[in-house]
Protein backbone atom coordinates (compact mmCIF):
# COMPACT_ATOMS: atom_id res chain seq x y z
CA UNK A 1 0.00 0.00 0.00
CA UNK A 2 1.13 3.55 0.68
CA UNK A 3 3.60 2.34 3.30
CA UNK A 4 5.59 0.47 0.73
CA UNK A 5 6.56 -3.14 1.16
CA UNK A 6 5.79 -4.58 4.57
CA UNK A 7 7.31 -7.71 5.98
CA UNK A 8 5.08 -10.75 5.88
CA UNK A 9 4.50 -10.82 9.60
CA UNK A 10 3.56 -7.14 9.67
CA UNK A 11 1.10 -7.60 6.84
CA UNK A 12 -0.41 -10.63 8.48
CA UNK A 13 -0.82 -8.87 11.82
CA UNK A 14 -2.59 -5.94 10.21
CA UNK A 15 -4.88 -8.25 8.28
CA UNK A 16 -5.71 -10.33 11.35
CA UNK A 17 -6.51 -7.22 13.40
CA UNK A 18 -8.65 -5.79 10.63
CA UNK A 19 -10.54 -9.04 10.25
CA UNK A 20 -11.05 -9.29 14.00
CA UNK A 21 -12.61 -5.83 13.95
CA UNK A 22 -14.52 -6.02 10.70
CA UNK A 23 -16.22 -9.37 11.19
CA UNK A 24 -17.87 -8.69 14.56
CA UNK A 25 -18.71 -5.13 13.49
CA UNK A 26 -20.35 -6.38 10.34
CA UNK A 27 -22.30 -8.90 12.38
CA UNK A 28 -23.29 -6.20 14.87
CA UNK A 29 -24.53 -3.89 12.14
CA UNK A 30 -26.51 -6.75 10.63
CA UNK A 31 -27.99 -7.64 14.01
CA UNK A 32 -29.03 -4.08 14.73
CA UNK A 33 -30.40 -3.23 11.33
CA UNK A 34 -32.20 -6.44 10.62
CA UNK A 35 -32.88 -8.33 13.78
CA UNK A 36 -33.78 -5.35 15.90
CA UNK A 37 -35.16 -2.85 13.46
CA UNK A 38 -36.26 -4.47 10.22
CA UNK A 39 -38.32 -7.18 11.87
CA UNK A 40 -39.80 -4.63 14.24
CA UNK A 41 -40.89 -2.34 11.43
CA UNK A 42 -42.34 -5.28 9.56
CA UNK A 43 -44.39 -6.05 12.63
CA UNK A 44 -45.52 -2.45 13.23
CA UNK A 45 -43.47 -2.07 16.35
CA UNK A 46 -40.32 -0.19 17.30
CA UNK A 47 -37.83 -2.69 18.63
CA UNK A 48 -35.29 -1.70 21.27
CA UNK A 49 -35.31 2.03 21.89
CA UNK A 50 -33.91 2.54 25.37
CA UNK A 51 -30.26 1.50 25.13
CA UNK A 52 -28.65 4.35 23.24
CA UNK A 53 -30.52 6.57 20.77
CA UNK A 54 -33.04 4.39 18.97
CA UNK A 55 -31.56 1.30 20.55
CA UNK A 56 -28.18 1.46 18.82
CA UNK A 57 -26.35 0.25 21.91
CA UNK A 58 -28.72 -2.65 22.52
CA UNK A 59 -26.24 -5.18 21.21
CA UNK A 60 -23.59 -3.84 23.58
CA UNK A 61 -26.05 -4.34 26.41
CA UNK A 62 -26.84 -7.84 25.21
CA UNK A 63 -23.18 -8.76 24.89
CA UNK A 64 -22.58 -7.49 28.41
CA UNK A 65 -25.53 -9.52 29.63
CA UNK A 66 -24.29 -12.74 28.07
CA UNK A 67 -20.74 -12.24 29.22
CA UNK A 68 -21.75 -12.06 32.86
CA UNK A 69 -23.87 -15.21 32.83
CA UNK A 70 -23.00 -18.37 34.69
CA UNK A 71 -21.21 -21.03 32.72
CA UNK A 72 -23.60 -23.96 32.86
CA UNK A 73 -22.67 -27.32 31.42
CA UNK A 74 -25.29 -30.06 31.70
CA UNK A 75 -24.39 -32.84 34.06
CA UNK A 76 -24.46 -35.66 31.55
CA UNK A 77 -22.85 -33.71 28.75
CA UNK A 78 -19.50 -34.64 27.39
CA UNK A 79 -17.47 -31.76 28.84
CA UNK A 80 -14.83 -31.40 26.16
CA UNK A 81 -17.15 -31.93 23.23
CA UNK A 82 -19.61 -29.47 24.72
CA UNK A 83 -17.05 -26.69 24.83
CA UNK A 84 -15.67 -27.16 21.34
CA UNK A 85 -18.53 -26.45 18.87
CA UNK A 86 -18.80 -22.68 19.37
CA UNK A 87 -15.20 -22.34 18.39
CA UNK A 88 -15.52 -24.54 15.35
CA UNK A 89 -18.41 -22.44 14.11
CA UNK A 90 -16.60 -19.22 14.94
CA UNK A 91 -13.44 -20.38 13.20
CA UNK A 92 -15.24 -21.35 10.01
CA UNK A 93 -17.01 -18.01 9.98
CA UNK A 94 -13.75 -16.14 10.22
CA UNK A 95 -12.23 -18.39 7.57
CA UNK A 96 -15.05 -17.36 5.22
CA UNK A 97 -13.82 -13.79 5.29
CA UNK A 98 -10.28 -14.71 4.22
CA UNK A 99 -10.94 -14.53 0.50
CA UNK A 100 -13.58 -11.82 0.28
CA UNK A 101 -12.03 -8.87 -1.54
CA UNK A 102 -12.96 -5.44 -0.30
CA UNK A 103 -10.82 -3.39 -2.64
CA UNK A 104 -8.12 -3.78 -5.28
CA UNK A 105 -5.64 -4.89 -2.61
CA UNK A 106 -7.81 -5.34 0.43
CA UNK A 107 -8.09 -9.07 0.71
CA UNK A 108 -6.54 -11.21 3.39
CA UNK A 109 -5.38 -13.76 0.89
CA UNK A 110 -6.32 -13.82 -2.75
CA UNK A 111 -6.32 -17.58 -3.19
CA UNK A 112 -6.37 -18.92 -6.74
CA UNK A 113 -9.04 -21.43 -5.64
CA UNK A 114 -11.06 -18.64 -4.02
CA UNK A 115 -14.64 -19.79 -4.34
CA UNK A 116 -13.79 -23.45 -3.98
CA UNK A 117 -12.10 -22.64 -0.68
CA UNK A 118 -15.22 -20.81 0.53
CA UNK A 119 -17.48 -23.72 -0.26
CA UNK A 120 -15.15 -26.17 1.40
CA UNK A 121 -14.80 -24.13 4.56
CA UNK A 122 -18.52 -23.55 4.93
CA UNK A 123 -19.04 -27.30 5.14
CA UNK A 124 -16.90 -27.57 8.26
CA UNK A 125 -19.46 -25.74 10.39
CA UNK A 126 -21.74 -28.75 10.00
CA UNK A 127 -19.40 -30.63 12.31
CA UNK A 128 -19.82 -27.93 14.94
CA UNK A 129 -23.59 -28.17 14.77
CA UNK A 130 -23.63 -31.93 14.92
CA UNK A 131 -21.22 -32.11 17.85
CA UNK A 132 -23.22 -29.45 19.70
CA UNK A 133 -26.38 -31.46 19.27
CA UNK A 134 -24.80 -34.68 20.43
CA UNK A 135 -22.77 -33.36 23.31
CA UNK A 136 -25.63 -31.51 24.96
CA UNK A 137 -27.12 -34.74 26.35
CA UNK A 138 -30.57 -33.38 25.53
CA UNK A 139 -33.04 -35.06 23.23
CA UNK A 140 -34.18 -31.78 21.73
CA UNK A 141 -30.61 -30.77 20.98
CA UNK A 142 -29.93 -34.17 19.49
CA UNK A 143 -32.89 -33.93 17.17
CA UNK A 144 -31.89 -30.44 16.19
CA UNK A 145 -28.36 -31.57 15.45
CA UNK A 146 -29.51 -34.44 13.26
CA UNK A 147 -31.87 -32.22 11.36
CA UNK A 148 -29.08 -29.71 10.89
CA UNK A 149 -26.72 -32.34 9.54
CA UNK A 150 -29.22 -33.58 6.99
CA UNK A 151 -30.23 -30.13 5.91
CA UNK A 152 -26.81 -28.53 5.71
CA UNK A 153 -25.31 -31.36 3.71
CA UNK A 154 -28.27 -31.47 1.37
CA UNK A 155 -28.02 -27.77 0.58
CA UNK A 156 -24.28 -27.77 -0.01
CA UNK A 157 -24.85 -29.25 -3.43
CA UNK A 158 -27.15 -26.60 -4.89
CA UNK A 159 -24.79 -23.95 -3.56
CA UNK A 160 -21.80 -25.51 -5.31
CA UNK A 161 -23.69 -26.10 -8.52
CA UNK A 162 -25.05 -22.57 -8.59
CA UNK A 163 -21.57 -21.18 -8.30
CA UNK A 164 -20.24 -23.33 -11.14
CA UNK A 165 -22.26 -21.32 -13.61
CA UNK A 166 -20.46 -18.17 -12.51
CA UNK A 167 -17.14 -19.93 -12.65
CA UNK A 168 -17.75 -21.10 -16.19
CA UNK A 169 -18.72 -17.64 -17.26
CA UNK A 170 -15.77 -15.99 -15.57
CA UNK A 171 -13.28 -18.69 -16.41
CA UNK A 172 -11.59 -18.53 -13.01
CA UNK A 173 -12.07 -19.52 -9.38
CA UNK A 174 -10.28 -16.48 -7.99
CA UNK A 175 -12.67 -13.95 -6.50
CA UNK A 176 -10.64 -10.86 -7.45
CA UNK A 177 -10.58 -12.04 -11.03
CA UNK A 178 -14.32 -12.58 -10.99
CA UNK A 179 -14.79 -9.02 -9.78
CA UNK A 180 -12.58 -7.65 -12.55
CA UNK A 181 -14.43 -9.70 -15.15
CA UNK A 182 -17.70 -8.14 -14.05
CA UNK A 183 -16.32 -4.65 -13.86
CA UNK A 184 -14.70 -4.61 -17.24
CA UNK A 185 -17.19 -6.78 -19.02
CA UNK A 186 -20.00 -5.60 -21.20
CA UNK A 187 -23.40 -6.82 -22.17
CA UNK A 188 -23.67 -7.01 -25.94
CA UNK A 189 -21.34 -4.05 -26.19
CA UNK A 190 -23.26 -1.96 -23.68
CA UNK A 191 -20.88 -1.44 -20.79
CA UNK A 192 -22.52 1.19 -18.61
CA UNK A 193 -23.07 -1.20 -15.74
CA UNK A 194 -20.33 -3.63 -16.58
CA UNK A 195 -21.40 -7.25 -16.67
CA UNK A 196 -22.77 -8.26 -13.28
CA UNK A 197 -23.43 -11.94 -13.38
CA UNK A 198 -26.81 -11.55 -11.77
CA UNK A 199 -28.20 -10.70 -15.19
CA UNK A 200 -26.97 -13.76 -17.04
CA UNK A 201 -26.86 -16.09 -14.06
CA UNK A 202 -30.16 -15.07 -12.56
CA UNK A 203 -31.21 -18.67 -11.97
CA UNK A 204 -27.90 -19.35 -10.32
CA UNK A 205 -28.31 -16.31 -8.12
CA UNK A 206 -31.74 -17.39 -6.90
CA UNK A 207 -30.52 -20.93 -6.20
CA UNK A 208 -27.47 -19.59 -4.41
CA UNK A 209 -29.58 -17.34 -2.18
CA UNK A 210 -31.97 -20.19 -1.35
CA UNK A 211 -29.04 -22.44 -0.55
CA UNK A 212 -27.47 -19.72 1.61
CA UNK A 213 -30.76 -19.32 3.46
CA UNK A 214 -30.64 -23.04 4.21
CA UNK A 215 -26.95 -23.02 5.12
CA UNK A 216 -27.55 -20.28 7.64
CA UNK A 217 -30.48 -22.15 9.08
CA UNK A 218 -32.94 -19.32 8.57
CA UNK A 219 -36.65 -19.74 8.04
CA UNK A 220 -38.05 -21.23 5.88
CA UNK A 221 -35.23 -23.67 6.48
CA UNK A 222 -34.77 -23.33 10.22
CA UNK A 223 -35.70 -26.85 11.19
CA UNK A 224 -32.53 -27.26 13.31
CA UNK A 225 -33.53 -24.36 15.53
CA UNK A 226 -37.26 -24.60 15.12
CA UNK A 227 -38.27 -22.56 18.09
CA UNK A 228 -41.71 -23.96 18.46
CA UNK A 229 -40.67 -27.60 18.30
CA UNK A 230 -37.22 -28.24 19.56
CA UNK A 231 -36.99 -24.86 21.23
CA UNK A 232 -33.34 -24.14 20.63
CA UNK A 233 -32.33 -27.17 18.68
CA UNK A 234 -28.64 -27.77 18.94
CA UNK A 235 -28.20 -24.47 20.77
CA UNK A 236 -30.66 -25.15 23.54
CA UNK A 237 -28.14 -25.97 26.27
CA UNK A 238 -25.72 -23.19 25.47
CA UNK A 239 -25.73 -20.07 27.57
CA UNK A 240 -23.50 -17.10 28.17
CA UNK A 241 -20.39 -16.65 26.08
CA UNK A 242 -20.92 -19.89 24.17
CA UNK A 243 -24.36 -18.81 23.05
CA UNK A 244 -22.99 -15.38 22.21
CA UNK A 245 -20.44 -17.01 19.91
CA UNK A 246 -23.13 -19.05 18.15
CA UNK A 247 -25.36 -16.01 17.81
CA UNK A 248 -22.71 -13.66 16.46
CA UNK A 249 -21.25 -16.22 14.10
CA UNK A 250 -24.72 -16.84 12.68
CA UNK A 251 -24.99 -13.19 11.76
CA UNK A 252 -21.36 -12.90 10.72
CA UNK A 253 -21.87 -15.87 8.42
CA UNK A 254 -24.94 -14.17 6.98
CA UNK A 255 -22.89 -11.09 6.22
CA UNK A 256 -20.07 -13.24 4.86
CA UNK A 257 -22.26 -15.25 2.54
CA UNK A 258 -23.97 -12.10 1.36
CA UNK A 259 -20.60 -10.59 0.62
CA UNK A 260 -19.67 -13.69 -1.37
CA UNK A 261 -22.94 -13.49 -3.26
CA UNK A 262 -22.34 -9.81 -3.91
CA UNK A 263 -18.86 -10.61 -5.18
CA UNK A 264 -20.04 -13.38 -7.46
CA UNK A 265 -23.18 -11.83 -8.81
CA UNK A 266 -23.24 -8.13 -8.16
CA UNK A 267 -19.69 -7.10 -8.92
CA UNK A 268 -18.23 -7.07 -5.43
CA UNK A 269 -16.31 -4.04 -4.31
CA UNK A 270 -16.15 -2.48 -7.73
CA UNK A 271 -18.26 0.02 -9.51
CA UNK A 272 -18.58 -0.50 -13.27
CA UNK A 273 -15.32 0.14 -15.13
CA UNK A 274 -17.02 2.43 -17.60
CA UNK A 275 -17.42 4.98 -14.84
CA UNK A 276 -13.63 5.47 -14.89
CA UNK A 277 -13.07 5.87 -11.20
CA UNK A 278 -9.36 6.12 -10.41
CA UNK A 279 -7.85 3.09 -8.80
CA UNK A 280 -6.60 4.95 -5.74
CA UNK A 281 -10.12 6.13 -5.00
CA UNK A 282 -11.37 2.57 -5.17
CA UNK A 283 -9.10 1.69 -2.26
CA UNK A 284 -11.39 3.76 -0.07
CA UNK A 285 -14.69 3.36 -1.87
CA UNK A 286 -14.35 -0.38 -2.34
CA UNK A 287 -15.00 -1.45 1.26
CA UNK A 288 -18.03 0.82 1.48
CA UNK A 289 -19.43 -0.57 -1.75
CA UNK A 290 -19.04 -4.20 -0.75
CA UNK A 291 -20.47 -3.49 2.67
CA UNK A 292 -23.54 -1.84 1.16
CA UNK A 293 -24.11 -4.66 -1.30
CA UNK A 294 -23.64 -7.28 1.40
CA UNK A 295 -26.07 -5.49 3.71
CA UNK A 296 -28.67 -5.30 0.96
CA UNK A 297 -28.45 -9.03 0.38
CA UNK A 298 -28.46 -9.72 4.12
CA UNK A 299 -31.60 -7.62 4.28
CA UNK A 300 -33.22 -9.84 1.67
CA UNK A 301 -32.24 -12.94 3.64
CA UNK A 302 -33.80 -11.59 6.82
CA UNK A 303 -36.85 -10.22 5.03
CA UNK A 304 -37.59 -13.71 3.80
CA UNK A 305 -36.77 -15.11 7.24
CA UNK A 306 -39.35 -13.04 9.05
CA UNK A 307 -42.11 -13.46 6.52
CA UNK A 308 -42.46 -17.16 5.98
CA UNK A 309 -43.36 -20.27 7.93
CA UNK A 310 -40.86 -23.11 7.98
CA UNK A 311 -40.72 -26.18 5.82
CA UNK A 312 -40.82 -29.64 7.30
CA UNK A 313 -37.66 -31.73 7.11
CA UNK A 314 -38.78 -34.03 4.34
CA UNK A 315 -40.18 -31.15 2.34
CA UNK A 316 -36.82 -29.42 2.75
CA UNK A 317 -34.96 -32.41 1.43
CA UNK A 318 -37.39 -32.91 -1.39
CA UNK A 319 -36.95 -29.31 -2.44
CA UNK A 320 -33.17 -29.62 -2.45
CA UNK A 321 -32.84 -32.93 -4.20
CA UNK A 322 -35.74 -32.86 -6.57
CA UNK A 323 -35.92 -29.22 -7.49
CA UNK A 324 -32.81 -27.19 -6.80
CA UNK A 325 -30.21 -29.67 -7.99
CA UNK A 326 -31.82 -30.48 -11.35
CA UNK A 327 -32.44 -26.79 -12.02
CA UNK A 328 -28.88 -25.87 -11.19
CA UNK A 329 -27.54 -28.68 -13.38
CA UNK A 330 -29.67 -27.35 -16.19
CA UNK A 331 -28.25 -23.91 -15.52
CA UNK A 332 -24.71 -25.22 -15.78
CA UNK A 333 -25.45 -27.01 -19.04
CA UNK A 334 -26.95 -23.94 -20.65
CA UNK A 335 -24.15 -21.72 -19.41
CA UNK A 336 -21.54 -24.08 -20.76
CA UNK A 337 -23.24 -24.33 -24.14
CA UNK A 338 -23.62 -20.57 -24.43
CA UNK A 339 -20.06 -19.95 -23.30
CA UNK A 340 -18.72 -22.17 -26.03
CA UNK A 341 -21.15 -20.98 -28.64
CA UNK A 342 -20.92 -17.23 -28.05
Amino acid sequence: MILGQLAFWQETTIKVLLAAIVVPTGAAIAVYLFLFKLISFMQSRLGPMEAGPHGTLQLVAEVGKWLQKEDIIPDKADKFLFKVPPFIVLATTFLLFVVIPAGPNAVVSSLPVGIFYVLAVSSISVIGTLVAGWASANKYAFMGGLRAAGQLIAYELPMVLAVIGVVIQAGTLNLQEIVYQQTNGSIFGFDFIGNPYILTQFVGFVIFMIAVQAELGQTPFDMPVAESEVIGGYMVEYTGIRFLVFFLSEFAAAVGFSAIAATLFLGGWSLPGAWDIPRTAMHFIGPIVILTKAMVLTGVIFWVRFSMPRLREDQLQRMAWKFLIPVSLLNITITAILKVAL
Partner: protein, 184 residues
Protein backbone atom coordinates in the same frame (compact mmCIF):
# COMPACT_ATOMS: atom_id res chain seq x y z
CA UNK B 1 -53.69 -15.51 -22.03
CA UNK B 2 -54.39 -14.83 -18.34
CA UNK B 3 -51.73 -13.03 -16.34
CA UNK B 4 -49.32 -15.43 -14.58
CA UNK B 5 -50.32 -16.04 -10.98
CA UNK B 6 -47.94 -14.52 -8.44
CA UNK B 7 -46.91 -17.26 -6.03
CA UNK B 8 -48.47 -16.90 -2.60
CA UNK B 9 -45.25 -16.56 -0.69
CA UNK B 10 -44.24 -13.57 -2.79
CA UNK B 11 -47.51 -11.89 -1.88
CA UNK B 12 -46.67 -12.64 1.73
CA UNK B 13 -43.33 -10.90 1.29
CA UNK B 14 -45.26 -7.98 -0.13
CA UNK B 15 -47.43 -7.78 2.99
CA UNK B 16 -44.44 -7.57 5.32
CA UNK B 17 -42.68 -5.09 3.08
CA UNK B 18 -45.77 -2.92 2.98
CA UNK B 19 -46.09 -2.99 6.76
CA UNK B 20 -42.44 -2.03 7.11
CA UNK B 21 -42.97 0.86 4.74
CA UNK B 22 -46.08 2.01 6.62
CA UNK B 23 -44.16 1.93 9.88
CA UNK B 24 -41.16 3.82 8.56
CA UNK B 25 -42.99 6.37 6.46
CA UNK B 26 -46.34 6.93 8.13
CA UNK B 27 -46.97 10.09 6.12
CA UNK B 28 -46.38 8.42 2.80
CA UNK B 29 -43.24 8.63 0.75
CA UNK B 30 -43.45 12.41 0.28
CA UNK B 31 -41.39 12.80 3.42
CA UNK B 32 -38.20 10.79 2.77
CA UNK B 33 -37.02 10.86 6.35
CA UNK B 34 -38.18 7.72 8.15
CA UNK B 35 -40.29 8.39 11.21
CA UNK B 36 -40.90 5.03 12.82
CA UNK B 37 -41.84 6.37 16.26
CA UNK B 38 -44.94 7.78 14.67
CA UNK B 39 -45.72 4.88 12.37
CA UNK B 40 -45.38 2.02 14.82
CA UNK B 41 -48.19 1.05 17.13
CA UNK B 42 -45.84 0.87 20.11
CA UNK B 43 -46.54 3.32 22.90
CA UNK B 44 -43.21 3.95 24.58
CA UNK B 45 -44.14 3.59 28.21
CA UNK B 46 -43.12 5.31 30.51
CA UNK B 47 -42.32 8.24 28.23
CA UNK B 48 -45.78 8.10 26.69
CA UNK B 49 -48.84 6.51 28.22
CA UNK B 50 -52.08 5.14 26.89
CA UNK B 51 -55.32 6.47 28.25
CA UNK B 52 -57.50 3.72 29.64
CA UNK B 53 -61.24 4.01 29.12
CA UNK B 54 -63.23 5.70 31.91
CA UNK B 55 -64.88 2.43 32.94
CA UNK B 56 -61.55 0.65 33.12
CA UNK B 57 -61.13 -1.19 36.40
CA UNK B 58 -57.86 0.11 37.70
CA UNK B 59 -58.24 0.62 41.43
CA UNK B 60 -61.09 0.87 43.91
CA UNK B 61 -61.51 4.12 45.82
CA UNK B 62 -63.41 4.85 49.00
CA UNK B 63 -65.73 7.77 49.68
CA UNK B 64 -65.43 7.51 53.45
CA UNK B 65 -68.29 9.80 54.34
CA UNK B 66 -70.77 7.47 52.72
CA UNK B 67 -69.57 4.27 54.34
CA UNK B 68 -71.65 2.90 57.23
CA UNK B 69 -69.59 -0.26 57.89
CA UNK B 70 -72.45 -2.45 56.78
CA UNK B 71 -69.84 -5.08 55.74
CA UNK B 72 -71.69 -6.03 52.57
CA UNK B 73 -68.58 -5.53 50.44
CA UNK B 74 -66.39 -7.59 52.76
CA UNK B 75 -68.96 -10.36 52.75
CA UNK B 76 -69.51 -10.48 49.01
CA UNK B 77 -65.87 -10.31 47.99
CA UNK B 78 -64.94 -13.69 46.39
CA UNK B 79 -61.44 -13.41 47.77
CA UNK B 80 -62.23 -11.89 51.16
CA UNK B 81 -59.68 -9.16 50.61
CA UNK B 82 -61.52 -6.27 52.32
CA UNK B 83 -60.89 -5.71 56.04
CA UNK B 84 -63.34 -3.49 57.87
CA UNK B 85 -63.41 -2.47 61.50
CA UNK B 86 -65.74 0.06 62.99
CA UNK B 87 -67.39 1.06 66.21
CA UNK B 88 -70.62 2.69 67.21
CA UNK B 89 -70.66 6.23 68.51
CA UNK B 90 -73.33 8.68 69.35
CA UNK B 91 -73.94 11.56 66.98
CA UNK B 92 -75.79 14.70 68.01
CA UNK B 93 -79.54 14.58 67.39
CA UNK B 94 -80.92 16.07 64.21
CA UNK B 95 -83.32 18.38 65.96
CA UNK B 96 -83.30 20.08 69.25
CA UNK B 97 -84.51 17.90 72.05
CA UNK B 98 -84.24 14.65 70.14
CA UNK B 99 -82.28 11.71 71.30
CA UNK B 100 -78.70 11.11 70.08
CA UNK B 101 -78.39 8.88 67.06
CA UNK B 102 -76.00 5.98 67.06
CA UNK B 103 -73.85 5.87 63.95
CA UNK B 104 -71.12 3.56 62.75
CA UNK B 105 -67.71 5.09 62.65
CA UNK B 106 -65.18 3.51 60.36
CA UNK B 107 -61.87 2.64 62.02
CA UNK B 108 -60.25 0.55 59.39
CA UNK B 109 -61.02 -0.09 55.74
CA UNK B 110 -58.26 -1.95 53.95
CA UNK B 111 -58.29 -3.54 50.54
CA UNK B 112 -55.57 -6.06 49.87
CA UNK B 113 -54.70 -5.58 46.20
CA UNK B 114 -52.47 -8.65 46.18
CA UNK B 115 -55.66 -10.69 46.56
CA UNK B 116 -58.16 -8.50 44.75
CA UNK B 117 -59.53 -10.04 41.56
CA UNK B 118 -60.80 -6.72 40.20
CA UNK B 119 -64.25 -8.20 39.77
CA UNK B 120 -66.16 -5.19 41.07
CA UNK B 121 -68.70 -7.06 43.19
CA UNK B 122 -67.93 -4.83 46.17
CA UNK B 123 -68.52 -1.66 44.15
CA UNK B 124 -71.77 -3.04 42.79
CA UNK B 125 -73.13 -4.34 46.05
CA UNK B 126 -72.48 -1.24 48.20
CA UNK B 127 -75.87 0.29 48.98
CA UNK B 128 -74.47 3.69 50.00
CA UNK B 129 -72.27 4.47 46.97
CA UNK B 130 -69.09 4.52 49.01
CA UNK B 131 -66.91 2.59 46.56
CA UNK B 132 -66.02 3.72 43.06
CA UNK B 133 -63.82 2.42 40.28
CA UNK B 134 -60.92 4.53 39.07
CA UNK B 135 -58.84 3.83 35.94
CA UNK B 136 -55.52 4.42 37.72
CA UNK B 137 -53.16 1.48 37.37
CA UNK B 138 -49.72 2.63 38.36
CA UNK B 139 -49.43 1.42 41.92
CA UNK B 140 -46.95 -1.42 41.72
CA UNK B 141 -44.86 -1.89 44.84
CA UNK B 142 -41.61 -3.55 45.66
CA UNK B 143 -43.08 -5.41 48.62
CA UNK B 144 -46.31 -7.35 48.60
CA UNK B 145 -47.25 -5.94 52.01
CA UNK B 146 -47.36 -2.44 50.51
CA UNK B 147 -50.22 -3.58 48.29
CA UNK B 148 -52.55 -3.32 51.27
CA UNK B 149 -54.15 0.06 50.75
CA UNK B 150 -55.58 1.62 53.88
CA UNK B 151 -58.38 4.10 54.36
CA UNK B 152 -56.31 7.21 53.60
CA UNK B 153 -54.85 5.81 50.42
CA UNK B 154 -58.23 4.62 49.21
CA UNK B 155 -59.56 8.07 49.90
CA UNK B 156 -56.76 9.56 47.79
CA UNK B 157 -57.75 7.38 44.86
CA UNK B 158 -61.14 9.03 44.99
CA UNK B 159 -59.68 12.17 43.41
CA UNK B 160 -59.04 10.22 40.24
CA UNK B 161 -62.55 8.78 39.82
CA UNK B 162 -64.01 10.06 36.54
CA UNK B 163 -67.65 11.00 36.12
CA UNK B 164 -69.91 8.31 34.75
CA UNK B 165 -70.26 8.49 30.98
CA UNK B 166 -73.51 9.12 29.18
CA UNK B 167 -75.14 6.05 27.71
CA UNK B 168 -75.81 5.18 24.10
CA UNK B 169 -79.06 6.16 22.51
CA UNK B 170 -81.83 3.75 23.37
CA UNK B 171 -80.67 3.04 26.88
CA UNK B 172 -83.24 3.32 29.63
CA UNK B 173 -80.81 3.29 32.52
CA UNK B 174 -80.35 6.63 34.17
CA UNK B 175 -76.79 7.53 34.85
CA UNK B 176 -76.16 8.46 38.47
CA UNK B 177 -73.61 11.12 39.35
CA UNK B 178 -70.58 10.28 41.44
CA UNK B 179 -71.34 11.47 44.97
CA UNK B 180 -68.40 13.76 45.34
CA UNK B 181 -69.45 15.99 48.16
CA UNK B 182 -70.09 12.94 50.22
CA UNK B 183 -73.26 14.21 51.81
CA UNK B 184 -75.00 11.54 53.86
Amino acid sequence: MPAPKIPGFLKGLGVTARTAKETMFPDGLKNPVPHPTKGAVTVQYPHAKEEPTPRSRGVISLQEDNCTSCMLCARECPDWCIYIEGHKTLAPPRREGGKPRSVNKLDRFDIDYSLCMYCGICVEVCPFEALYWSPEYEYSEMRIADLLHDKERLGQWFETVPDFEAHEAGAEVKQKPVSRKGAK
